[in-house]
């Protein structure tokens, strides 16, 4: 697993992919920080986090599009799948590599928070660190869900572009559950769909509500998608 993790991580920086991802992530987070905090003089970064959700929805598929697809296209899966590495190690290596890049992107939000808290303290007020950490955990979990979903979709195809577009589509569907639920006339069904809504739960984080229930929901989504990726890789052997 460690070998895969190291290789995948390095590969983000031997191609422009990692740089492009980080540049766009930093650019938009800066823009939203300006729009939601600095220009209005607000000290709460919650809206920044909310906006980053939409950027991640489109940006993370770029990070994950080639994880599995490119291996199949270049036949390098013949190396990884015939080496003494379990499928779990293979998928986790790829997941953690993408997740690490994502975390490097997220660090910038922490830096913004440090600056804002310093500015707020200068004016004699208190920065809402509790709310910030809630948001921060929220965005990291959300990123994990998008990454694991993206790797899963990448495992379904050999074509990076299809993987990217498919993942963006899947992410949009993941987030549209609450809109869909409002159109379902049967209340019990609508409740079920609503309880699966990713966006709604992420929004709760940005409102400063930190519930263990939501953390578990995101974690189980990550586990499920990674598990599905393993099944898809396994299924290829049997087809």
């Amino acid at each position: 697993m460690l070998a895969i993790l190291k290789r995948e991580f390095a590969s983000y920086f031997t191609s422009p992919l990692g740089y492009v991802y980080l540049a766009v992530f930093y650019g938009f987070s800066g823009l939203f920080l300006w729009l939601t905090c600095l220009s209005s003089g607000s000290a709460s970064m919650s809206s920044t986090f909310l906006w980053m959700f939409f950027i991640m929805m489109i940006l993370i598929p770029v990070l994950t599009m080639r994880t599995m697809a490119d291996d199949k296209r270049q036949k390098t899966d013949q190396l990884t799948l015939t080496s003494p590495v379990s499928l779990f190690g293979l998928v986790m290596g790829k997941f953690l590599a993408a997740f690490l890049i994502f975390l490097i992107g997220c660090v910038v939000l922490l830096i913004y928070a440090l600056f804002i808290s310093a500015a707020v303290q200068n004016s004699g007020n208190e920065f809402g660190w509790a709310s910030f950490w809630g948001n921060f955990v929220g965005i990291i979990l959300m990123g994990g869900v998008f990454i694991s979903a993206g790797i899963f979709i990448s495992g379904l195809t050999e074509n990076q572009m299809i993987a990217a577009i498919g993942s963006i589509g899947a992410n949009i569907v993941l987030c549209m559950f609450d809109i869909i639920s409002s159109y379902v006339p049967v209340e019990s069904v609508s409740n079920i769909i609503n309880s699966l809504s990713v966006f709604y739960k992420y929004q709760e984080f940005t409102y400063g509500i930190f519930s263990l229930k939501n953390v578990l929901f995101f974690l189980s989504l990550i586990v499920i998608f990674n598990f599905l990726t393993m099944r898809v890789a396994e299924r290829r052997r049997w087809s």
Partner: protein
């Protein structure tokens, strides 16, 4: 070392590998021969655990590849048809990655250095694989298979795309490796199998059609005693003279070498030696024999015979009795 028992693989309705059994012992080089689409690569992919079988068993060192894949894979070095290279890495980075991937315990620097000098890629170690030629890529692929010094090497058409000099080098290398590894080598280049392998397994349309040494195959299939001769003289008369020899079964005119010289293929009864008789009869009429050799079957001919059931293929030999 490698034991394959009743292996089958089904793709939908198509049976790609049909109930194949064979084995390869320690320090044996086994040639895997078959026309395109015969199921060579599929069998190799099953042996290495890349594909699963639909039936039967593949044991590597007594370990079932499906039951305990991680243990079994530790003993295998695999070079697929297309070397599985990450084009964005340098050769060194790539081999280091493979070293980690295979959880290799040997001293890293000396082990990788040894492999590099063995397959002669030391001078390209720091180059990005994308920029390497096909021959070098093939060698890096071979180097990858050697990392961790696995007991079993499975090589799928290892000399494809190499120039003649490189082909000879790789063959010599494989022979050398065969002294302390079990090697399975697939190829549709017959002379390669003949030159390198101790034993040959021929498969066609997923079925095993032969499993023997190259020499045995050649002997058992050339039951008739055959001679190829070139004789100077009027071909009709020579043909008649040759046909008159007792024990002669068939005289083929192979081709006209030039205006006066003709090449014949002589088929005598099994066990009969007609060489002296041919000499005496030609000497009596003063027709010089320019060439005489026994035409044992080449692997090429065996191959055609086994896979098409037709010894002369579809060439017109214009044979007469």
């Amino acid at each position: 070392m490698i034991e394959v028992k009743n292996l089958s693989k089904r793709y939908g309705n198509k049976l790609a590998v049909d109930n194949i059994s064979f084995s390869a012992g320690e320090s044996e080089i086994l040639g895997f021969l078959g026309p395109n689409g015969a199921g060579k690569s599929t069998t190799m992919n099953i042996l290495t655990g890349y594909l699963s079988s639909s039936g039967g068993q593949a044991l590597i060192n007594g370990v079932d590849i499906l039951e305990e894949p991680v243990t079994a894979k530790k003993d295998i070095g695999y070079l697929p048809e297309l070397p599985p290279l990450y084009l964005d890495m340098t050769v060194n980075e790539y081999l280091n990655f493979v070293y980690g991937l295979k959880k290799c315990k040997l001293p890293k620097k000396s082990h990788l250095g040894e492999i590099c000098s063995l397959v002669k890629i030391t001078d390209v170690q720091n180059r990005v694989i994308r920029n390497l030629s096909k021959g070098y890529r093939q060698r890096v692929g071979l180097a990858q298979a050697l990392v961790g010094n696995p007991k079993v090497l499975i090589l799928d058409e290892p000399t494809v795309g190499l120039d003649p000099k490189q082909i000879i080098e790789i063959r010599t290398l494989i022979k050398k490796l065969g002294k302390n590894h079990t090697v399975i080598l697939s190829s549709h280049i017959l002379s390669e199998v003949q030159a390198v392998c101790d034993r040959v397994v021929v498969i066609d349309k997923g079925k095993l059609v032969a499993n023997d040494t190259a020499d045995n195959l050649s002997r058992s299939l050339s039951a008739d005693h055959k001679l190829t001769v070139q004789i100077e003289g009027p071909s009709k008369e020579v043909q008649a003279l040759l046909s008159a020899i007792p024990d002669m079964v068939e005289v083929h005119v192979n081709r006209n070498v030039d205006k006066t010289v003709t090449e014949y293929e002589l088929n005598a009864k099994e066990g009969a030696d007609i060489r002296r008789e041919v000499f005496k009869r030609m000497a009596a009429r003063n027709y010089p024999i320019l060439l005489m050799r026994s035409s044992e079957l080449t692997l090429e001919e065996i191959f055609l015979k086994l896979t098409t059931g037709d010894f002369y293929g579809n060439t017109d030999n214009g044979g007469t009795k």
